[in-house]
């Protein structure tokens, strides 16, 4: 009797929650946690799969030392940072503008249509975005050059020139991710209570003041999440760029993940590639914490 009092009858057994959670947890272990730990372990090994006879001995931090003294790694990281700083401001400004337009009352049907359309770039696979990009920026028959022709500038070799290739991958990334920003901001804008917006409308007729003082505070959580997601995403952006430019011409679009892929699967030095990947993971975490500390405010 005493025992039945201590353990309330919850209608399910002790292990039931475990079995419900097990599929999700094992999937997560398989695709997320195990590879990460594998990479972490590999990063401390000499691990070149073309030379299996050398074995995979632990070599301490020497992979990390090579990475940190590798000029190409830093150049790639620099290119990635440049890419990030190019696309993100554009995505935020464009996304916010679209969100503000969609947030305005009226035109219900057209706006729900626009919202659905926004999902299309998000649902497109990176590799397909890359393929589309190759078609758009083709020197001979791409629409980008056709458009330039109409305004009198012709024959620009987008993917063959360093600045052109960088611009092309940036434009494709902006195309793919601006809608994501727009949807994020739209969600943030809809968090602003109607009466608070109305109270502000009685005090100022400036849309800019409204955005800055009333709506922006509600957008900060969205903005933080967005910055974190985009930093992580740009650091691992691979497929689209690989399909469009393979990092070239030269090293113009050699983003960090392209470089890591080259080290891992061209040179087959997986130990070094793992060390690079782990460093990127640490970088992502540091950037995320920074954004959270600077921008994020508790919800009101």
């Amino acid at each position: 009797m005493a025992q039945s009092k201590a353990v309330p009858n919850r209608g399910y057994g002790r292990w039931t929650p475990f079995w419900f959670l097990a599929p999700a947890v094992s999937a997560l272990l398989l695709v997320g946690i195990y590879p990460t730990i594998f990479a972490l372990v590999t990063s401390f090994r000499q691990y070149n799969i073309t030379r299996p006879r050398d074995g995979y001995p632990f070599i301490g931090f020497s992979n990390y030392a090579s990475v940190l003294t590798d000029g190409t790694f830093w150049t790639s990281l620099g290119t990635t940072a440049q890419f990030y700083l190019t696309v993100l401001p554009v995505q935020i400004v464009l996304g916010l503008s679209i969100a503000l337009l969609l947030h305005k009352p009226g035109l219900g049907l057209l706006k729900s249509l626009a919202r659905v359309t926004l999902v299309v770039p998000l649902a497109t696979t990176y590799a397909v975005v890359g393929l589309i990009g190759r078609l758009i920026f083709n020197r001979d028959f791409g629409v980008a050059n056709q458009f330039l022709d109409t305004i009198g500038i012709g024959g620009f070799d987008w993917l063959g020139s360093t600045s052109g290739a960088f611009a092309a991958i940036a434009i494709m990334d902006i195309w793919q991710w601006t809608p994501f920003c727009a949807l994020f901001f739209l969600a943030g804008l809809s968090m602003v209570p109607g009466e608070i917006e109305e109270a502000a409308r009685l005090e100022t007729s400036s849309k800019l003041a409204m955005l800055r003082y009333v709506q922006l505070p509600y957008l900060l959580p969205s903005l933080t999440a967005l910055l974190i997601l985009r930093s992580a995403d740009v650091l691992k952006l691979f497929d689209m760029v690989f399909v469009m430019t393979r990092g070239g011409p030269g090293s113009a679009t050699d983003l960090i993940s392209i470089y890591i892929q080259r080290v891992g699967f061209r040179v087959f030095d997986l130990g070094m590639a793992s060390a690079q990947a782990i460093l990127l993971l640490i970088l992502t975490i540091v950037i995320s914490r920074l954004y959270i500390r600077v921008l994020y405010r508790e919800n009101y």
Binding site: P193, E195, I196, E198, A199, A200, R201, L202, E203, T204, S205, S206, A209, Y213, V214, P217, R297, Y300
Partner: protein, 361 residues
Amino acid sequence: MSFLKLENIKKKFGDATVIKGVSLSAEKGEFVVFVGPSGCGKSTLLRMIAGLEDVSEGRLDIDGRDVTYEEPAKREVSMVFQSYALYPHMTVFENMAFGLRMAKIPEAEIKQRVGEAARILQIDVLLDRKPRALSGGQRQRVAIGRSIVRHPKIFLFDEPLSNLDAELRAQMRVEIARLHRNLGATMVYVTHDQIEAMTLADRIVVLRAGLVEQIGSPTELYDRPANIFVAGFIGSPKMNFVSATVLGIEGGAIRIGHPSFVGGSLSASPRIGGPLPKAGDKIIVGLRPEHLTLRSDRPVLTLTLDLMENLGGSTQVYARSGADSVTLLTPGRPAMQPGDSFGAGIDPDHIYLFNEDGAAL
């Protein structure tokens, strides 16, 4: 000249017309209360004065200026919302100062104005707090303070007290009345609470289904309601209505027959005037619960007791007279049992009469 003037204001949402042509005007310094059941359009009307809702038809003047299509911020009105609508990320001071900062008022004057308003509302110690650290009553004071500092031409209140508990509501009601007296400002106040309407208003506008039923001072509405709707809406508990038949006209008075009347009939004079009913017409007799007296020397009504509610100092008595139910409010605690028959008296001057269509006689 009237300070606030609405001329045949209409509001349509698609095919539905929610405000069907409202005209009214208010003098400077007047306290006008819009009252009515939910869905009557009182809040929509207020929001149209604020500019938060477009006017579909008609004209709106504030202080002699046509503001029908003016932006809200340029109408020089301020509004206190039901949910207070304070900016959650700003301190109390910043909340109150926001409108002034937007209007580019010098910082020194802002400090002085906010300080003054905070003193009036006794929130000077809260100026550095964020709204979430305030109680409901304090938030409402801040919201009112935010209105005061802007020195608006008109203060608008949209059911400002309905989120407060009963005690605080009574207290804030008194404070709003005091504020109105001290500032001498024009105020338009929306409520569904007829007690707030009665106690605060210089003039009450009773609305129903997008139309004005009656405009008048609280006393006017109580003493001379234009129709059954107003009579039933103003006064608490609600006025009793007994359907009866006109027996005849005797001098200025109407002789009315109903089986519950002692002697089968009673005589009452119309309050409003207008055409008198003919013998045989249906007539509705209105009796306010607080005017009916138990154990009267000259009982008018014979009633059967249904239920009694003891309110402590007084008792609310629910009784029946034939098909109609009648409520009485009586001091003390009468010793009666359900099913008991008793007589109730009323001063003939306190009898209200309405014709079949509900218009007051």
